[in-house]
């Protein structure tokens, strides 16, 4: 019986036959493994929640099919470029950014369900947990992007395969950027309802002010200022710079040099990720 119990608990020699807890993975491997584990948990939860998957697919239908479709039919006639492709690229980036941001509210869900305690007492850095959460949330974003492509197909809007590949290559940065921005909110809000509201306030204005479906090249005054401080502006512009590169419409569609976009996205992401994670760790521990 004794041996049975001990065998059940262990895999190798150590304290009373127990393995030495410090002799497992290296620190870096452990951090990567932890991020993968946290991400895999979130992906499993999404897959097991048909409601969440349905929402990921309904969102593009509403945003692109209804809002975008209406704009395309009624207001896009005077533009010097094709509105359909402009909107398709904008919506793809928007979904990567917005759905990851919204998915990060699962951190607050975990707190409500007490699961966050299990994460917070595990011997891994808070960054591994947060990065894992962002990767997990990105899964919903990818599902939404597939929804955007499907709605686009119905509307007769498509992208070349190499454009899709280029956007896929940018997707991790876009998702990380959205998740990092959400961390600023998750770091200070502990209530589910408030978190959902805050995330909506964070993402919805960006959809209109960052040029996702409405061009912002002619914005002035306060709207100009707001569009320049929205992180998604640089994400969307970078995506369009990649898709429109070498085309005659490039100058009319793209606002900034891609290098400027990339630098802005990277800087905002890094600042938000570090500040948000510090806030999150502190708010959990310093009461």
């Amino acid at each position: 019986m004794s041996a049975e119990l001990t065998e059940g608990l262990v895999g190798g020699p150590g304290r009373r036959g127990l393995p030495d807890t410090s002799a497992r993975m290296s620190r870096v491997a452990r951090e990567i493994n932890a991020a993968v584990t946290v991400a895999a948990r979130d992906i499993t939860l999404t897959v097991k929640s048909p409601g969440m998957l349905a929402m990921s697919l309904i969102m593009p239908l509403m945003m692109m099919g209804l809002i975008g479709g209406n704009l395309m039919q009624n207001m896009a006639g005077g533009l010097s470029f094709g509105f359909g492709r402009f909107m398709l690229v904008g919506m793809l980036i928007n979904m990567m950014f917005m759905m990851t941001t919204m998915g990060m509210t699962s951190l607050v869900d975990d707190s409500d369900g007490d699961y966050s305690a299990e994460l917070l007492v595990s011997p891994v850095s808070r960054y591994a947990i947060v990065v894992g959460k962002i990767i997990g949330s990105s899964f919903m974003a990818i599902v939404s992007c597939l929804g955007v492509l499907a709605v686009g197909l119905v509307m007769g809007l498509t992208l070349e395969p190499w454009h899709l590949l280029a956007l896929a290559a940018l997707a991790p940065l876009m998702c990380l950027s959205g998740g990092a921005l959400a961390m600023i909110v998750m770091g200070v809000i502990k209530k589910n309802k408030t978190a959902n509201m805050a995330v909506m306030l964070l993402t919805m204005p960006q959809m209109f002010l960052s040029g996702v479906i409405i061009p912002i090249s002619q914005s002035s005054g306060l709207l100009w200022l707001l569009s320049r401080i929205m992180p998604m502006t640089y994400c969307v512009d970078l995506g369009r710079a990649v898709v429109y590169a070498g085309s005659p419409e490039y100058d009319a569609v793209v606002l900034f040099n891609p290098a400027v976009n990339l630098a802005c996205v990277a800087a905002i992401t890094a600042i938000c990720l570090v500040a948000g994670t510090v806030l999150y760790a502190r708010s959990e521990k310093n009461r």
Binding site: M1, S2, E4, L5, T6, E7, G8, L9, V10, G11, G14, R15, R16, G17, L18, P19, T21, S22, R24, M25, A29, R30, N33, A34, V36, T37, V38, A40, R41, T44, L45, K48, S49, G113, D114, Y115, A117, E118, L119, L120, V121, S122, P123, V124, S125, E284, K285, N286, R287
Partner: protein, 279 residues
Amino acid sequence: MAVIEVEGLVKRYKRAKEPSVKSVSFEVAEGEFFAFLGPNGAGKTTTISILTTTLSKTAGRVQIAGYDIDSQDRQVRDHIGIIFQRPNLDRTLTAEENIRIHACLYGMYAYRPTYKAMPAGYRQQVEQLASIVGVGDSLFKRVSKLSGGMQRKFEVVRALTHTPHVLFLDEPTQGLDAVARRDLWEYLDRVRRECGTTIFLTTHYIDEAEGADTVCLIDRGQIALSCPPAEMKRRLGAETLEDAYVDYLRRHGSGTEAEGPALYSGSGRTGGGRRGRGL
């Protein structure tokens, strides 16, 4: 050798007038069963939260398994297991998925998306543990489909997967029926006996502390008493630990007219910051 060392621990919550924990000191030896008792609001959960690195302290020094909880918090977390007051298995996942995530977070195995893809060592360990606790049939059921007692057992399995030096049990049997409580304690006793795991328990079921090596009573943020259960019963002239506990609280505890708890250090390893009038 002391596996938990607490010296002058103070915790004052933000915007609180009074500290919740007032210069508490105690030690727990390796392999010891240490019961940390006290009425609601006495400072039990605050202390256990600090010891498990989920809450910052205001002052004092705490070492777990030789590691400082401030500068070496990750090493501390590596050496402890916790059963929280409220069940916190992920209810959407299966019991096995919960255990797998735990084992991977503790760096025991690289994550694999399915049970079958996990290393044989993991599968063997989980199956043996589950069958020992008597929950082998429910390993692949969704947690939301399991009874409260079954969920608690899986929490024990999860907490022990990484073979911690110290197992913190924060009111582990809350909400369980008598049979489930007894089953759980039989298993925990075996773990302690056969693996030498130190157990740090807080509970409102005082009879659960009868088998403890040391009973430590905290009241109004100060340690009022720390000694073996037999000594506590003898000093208070009670037949059971529960009688002794209730008797003490009626005479000195919060809600009485006493200005503070009666303070007494029975083992010499424990203190409440000042010496009181004793029992």
